[in-house]
Symmetry: C2
Subunit: 189 residues, 2 copies
C-alpha cells in the first residue's frame, strides 16, 4: 500500500500499476493478489487509509471547536487544504482515482467518518448562531465540503490541473468562507 501511494504521488493514479507496486515491495507481481482481489481493491484500501488520515487532520484542525466555533471552523478549512497539499497522493487516491466510494464498505465507512468530523463541526458552528434564521447544519457542512474540495481540486495542488490564479488557494478559501459565513449571518465579521 505504501508503494502504491508512492506511485500515485510520482505518476498519478493511472501510473500506479499493480506490478510496479509489487516490485517496489520486493515481491513478485502475483503476491499482492493474496491480499487484494484486484487493482481496484488495492486502490480502495489506499483511499480508505487516506480518509482515515484525513479525518484525523480535520479533527486536529477543528480541535474541539476551541477557542470559538467560528475560528476553529476556519482553521479546519486550512487543515483541509494543508492535507490536500501535503498529502497529494492520499487526496488523489481519495477523490481522483476513479474508485467509486460505494465500491468498498471499508472505504465508504472511512469516507463517512471523515465527513462526520466536518458535519459535527458544522453543527457546533450553527448551534452558536442566533436561534432565529439558523441554517440546517448538514447543508452548511455540505457547502463547506464542496467549497473546500472545489478550491483544492481546481487550485490547490501544484502538479494537477492547477490554474494560475492571482491569490493562493488558502486565501481564496478563507475569503470564500468568510463571505459565506457573513451571508449566513454568523458571528465571524
Amino acid at each position: 500500500m505504501q508503494a502504491a501511494l508512492d506511485l500515485i504521488a510520482e505518476r498519478g493514479p493511472a501510473g500506479a500499476t499493480f506490478a510496479e507496486a509489487a516490485r517496489r515491495a520486493g515481491v513478485s507481481p502475483a503476491a499482492p493478489y493474496r491480499h487484494f482481489r484486484d487493482r481496484e481493491e488495492l486502490l480502495a484500501a489506499v483511499a480508505a487509509a487516506g480518509f482515515d488520515r484525513f479525518a484525523e487532520a480535520l479533527k486536529a484542525g477543528w480541535n474541539g471547536g476551541r477557542p470559538d466555533a467560528a475560528s476553529a471552523y476556519e482553521r479546519m478549512g486550512h487543515a483541509y487544504l494543508d492535507f490536500a497539499r501535503q498529502h497529494p497522493a492520499d487526496y488523489v487516491a481519495m477523490f481522483e482515482s476513479g474508485i467509486p466510494t460505494e465500491a468498498d464498505p471499508a472505504l465508504r465507512q472511512a469516507a463517512d467518518r471523515a465527513f462526520g468530523v466536518l458535519r459535527e463541526a458544522a453543527e457546533t458552528l450553527v448551534a452558536a448562531m442566533p436561534a432565529q434564521g439558523r441554517p440546517p447544519a448538514l447543508m452548511v457542512a455540505l457547502h463547506t465540503w464542496a467549497l473546500a474540495h472545489g478550491v483544492a481540486a481546481l487550485f490547490g495542488r501544484a502538479d494537477a490541473a492547477r490554474r494560475k490564479v492571482p491569490m493562493p488557494a488558502d486565501d481564496l478559501l478563507e475569503a470564500a468562507f468568510l463571505i459565506y459565513l457573513k451571508g449566513l449571518g454568523a458571528p465571524a465579521a
Copy 2:
C-alpha cells in the same frame, strides 16, 4: 473522439482504451496514431472539445446577463450543473481524466475560454453592486467556479463517487450561491 467519449461514459476515463476506441471507429488499433501522438493527446482533444461545449452552455445560461445580473448568474450556475449531469463524459474528460490542463495548448485555450465566460459574468455581476465594498470580480469568479465544481464533483453525477445527500445538487448549489451573494452584500435577497 466520439468513440473515446462514449467509452469514458461507459467505463470511466481509465477504461477508455486507445485500442477499443479504434475498434469502435472501425479501424485498426494503429490508425488513430496518425491523428494523435498518444493516448494522452486523444484525451486532451476530447477534453478540449468538452470545454468548448461547456463554454457554450455557460454562455447560454448567462444569456448576456438578462434580465438582471443576479438571476442570470444563478441561471449560469444551473447551467453548470446541468452540463455536468447531462454530459458526464465531457465533464470527466475535462476534470477527472488525469490530463493536466497545461499539457496541450489547445486544451488550455479551451479551458481559458470557458472560464472567461464565468469571469465576464462575475465582472458584470460585481459592477452592478454598490461601489463601496465591491469585491474583486476575479475572486468572485474563482469562488463560483470552486463552489460549482465542488458540488458537481461530490454530489452532482449519479455514477461517480456521489454521496447520498438529503437535497438535490441543484438546490444545494443555489442555496450556497444565495448565501455567498448575501455575504457579498449583493442585491440577491
